[in-house]
């Protein structure tokens, strides 16, 4: 692995960690917020349920993996 790839991998691991789905979901929710905000409609309400939902799904996945592993 080149140094640049190793560096990128470290940054990815540092910011995103072991659950890329949650990170992707957060980015998509922000993109949807930006898209709706451009239409002039209130868009603040998208992020709270999105964040709580993404966290709950992530915890459920981790709990299932842990129960399969035990």
């Amino acid at each position: 692995m080149t140094r640049a790839r190793a560096c990128l991998a470290s940054v990815w691991e540092f910011v995103v960690g072991d659950d890329w789905r949650t990170a992707l979901g957060a980015v998509l929710a922000l993109a949807l917020t930006a898209l709706i905000a451009t239409t002039g409609v209130a868009a603040w309400w998208i992020m709270p349920p999105a964040v709580i939902g993404l966290l709950a799904l992530s915890i459920r996945r981790a709990a299932r993996e842990a129960s399969r592993g035990s």
Partner: protein, 264 residues
Amino acid sequence: MSGAEVGLAISVFLACTVEAVEALTIVLAVGTTRSWSSAMSGVGAAMLTLAVIVAALGPALTSLPIDVLRVLIGGLLLVFGLQWLRKAILRSAGLKARHDELESFRVQTDAASTAGERRSGFDGYAFTISFKGVLLEGLEVAFIVLTFGANQHRVALAAAAAGLAVLVVIAAGVAARAPLARVPENTMKFAVGVMLSSFGMFWGTEGAGASWPGGDAALLAILPGVLVAAVAMAWTVRRATLSASVAAASAAPAEAGDQASVSA
């Protein structure tokens, strides 16, 4: 000081305290078993590196347009905060090992004792382990200082909160002369995860062009909302884990009894 600035200072102070406690354990282990002067040289070099990172990136980030800064940094903070909060919930629910400073100290001390002969004068092992420990623990703090500080154009306030946390931990470490095992690290990590996720969501949404009802006062609803949801998730998963282990424990003797009756 505004509410958001108080939140900034508390978040950075708590995050830095947790990371400094973990770094202190590493430095204490190599300092007591190898060489204090080399270990402290490693600490100094790592602190200098972190200061250069913050000093170089802070002005660069604050020069970005506010909306770009908020959506970029808010998004990063949200992703980073959700990672902290996820780990904290899993620790709280018993699905991830809690950080134990005494165990960590024992492992580091054993490794330092068996890591080759100690030389008089400069000890490369003590320097390297201290440097890496402080730098790696400090990078998370530098990230939080930069993201929180840049978003509010208060990098200096964030850096001061981090510096205060380091001084408090060093003073406590000198007084205790042992790893700070009684610091409630897991609770503090939970609180930091809630704050990072909440502020990340708040700034990311504003940067994306949406306005919160009530402006900054919306944080007074977002923070408790995220906290309650996170506590509820930890409670639910802990209960499910306990129920599963009780069911497994009660099924084991029944299976053993069935096997005994078949063999009889």
